[in-house]
Amino acid sequence: MIENPFAEEPKPTAAWLWQVFTGVGLVILLGLHFIANHFVAKGGLRDFAEVVAYLRNPVILCLEVLFLLCVTTHALLGVRAIILDFGLSERTERRLDRVLKILGILTVGYGLMVTIMVIR
């Protein structure tokens, strides 16, 4: 019998769906982020004092953290899609996933750290 790799059910994936969810999230959150930080703020950018005051608003803080999560996930899923197009072996694919997960955690961690340092 001829072996056919395409006749076996692969592991289901939700990567595309998450890309869409975070994408939809970004449309809303990036819109808010943009308006709040660059259009409402006079001069297109907040000065230091304004940034601190802005981030101390708990609603804004939650939205900005959510934004950070969405943008990091969306960006890294996008990077993953491009790299997957190089046709990796399954093992390299798994390794890539691990690297990107760590990178994602580091990115979000860094963002949170900066935020905490600013509002303190």
């Binding site: 056919n4 790799p5 395409f6 006749a7 076996e8 059910e9 692969p10 592991k11 289901p12 994936t13 939700a14 990567a15 595309w16 769906l17 899609a81 997957l84 197009d85 190089f86 046709g87 694919e93």
Partner: protein, 256 residues
């Protein structure tokens, strides 16, 4: 019948030798199709030119190549539609397949993908006539309903997909990812899925498509649908599979 002198610039490759282009000038009627020109180059100029063909009427799918860079079936492509009257007509083998020799590519990967879904090659014919893959073809004809003979439950016909490989050549994702199930493979899964009510079979077919290199790998360039000579609309079928897979995932989430 006017005879034309048409220069053909044909991609030549033999294993172990560098690839090149050969130019043959063939003399053929102005009403000829591109396959007739290739045929003449082979019969008159060079019997070592290898190309695929069988039916000459877009049913076998074997002759697909790139004409001036665009995937086409030379058997239904009129010379007058692609040749500007001066520049040599460039003929290349399909992309995204290993070249065996000249215009012949190794299409085993395509048939592997087509075999995955085990889609039957015939399907139920429409309840009306005429049936066409070219919506402009029947502009002057009103569709008419078809009655079945008493002992028939249906008329059947061969599937639209002629397994020519054009979609796989046109697909930008296929260009990169060799493990991608590809437009035709996914469209076949969709067709097979809609030919059965057996829930286990449906789950299996959807399972085949629901992978990192299945429907989710498609980047929505819609090149397959643009290039398909048989209006199979593989991209549309990929999107329909996505929709069903998403719906299933959500209904599972809601515990149904």
């Amino acid at each position: 019948m006017n005879m034309l002198k048409v220069p053909l610039q044909i991609f030549r490759h033999k294993p172990g030798q560098p690839s090149r282009y050969d130019t043959f000038t063939v003399e053929i009627p102005d009403s000829a199709h591109v396959i007739d020109a290739i045929d003449a180059a082979w019969a008159v100029h060079d019997p070592s030119l290898t190309f695929r063909r069988a039916c000459h009427h877009s049913s076998c799918g074997s002759c697909a190549i790139r004409i001036n860079g665009v995937e086409k079936l030379p058997c239904i492509t009129k010379l007058s539609d692609v040749w500007d009257g001066r520049t040599p007509l460039r003929l290349d083998p399909l992309r995204n397949f290993p070249v065996v020799s000249d215009l012949v590519v190794d299409i085993s990967g395509f048939f592997q993908r087509m075999s995955a879904a085990e889609m039957a090659i015939t399907c139920e014919a429409e309840a009306f006539l005429p049936f066409t893959v070219d919506r402009f073809a029947v502009a002057e004809l009103e569709p008419k309903a078809v009655e079945l003979p008493a002992d028939f439950s249906r008329f059947n016909r061969f599937e639209q997909c002629i397994e020519c490989g054009i979609c796989m050549s046109a697909c930008p994702t296929m260009a990169a990812d060799e493990r991608f199930l590809g437009p035709a493979g996914l469209a076949a899964i969709y067709q097979a899925r809609h030919k059965t009510d057996d829930s286990r079979k449906v789950a299996h077919l959807l399972g085949l498509a629901d992978g990192e290199h299945g429907v989710w790998r498609c980047h929505s360039a819609f090149e397959c649908t643009e290039a398909c000579p048989q209006a199979v609309d593989p991209a549309g079928k990929i999107m329909a599979l996505r929709r069903e897979l998403i719906a299933r995932r959500f209904s599972k989430l809601w515990g149904k």
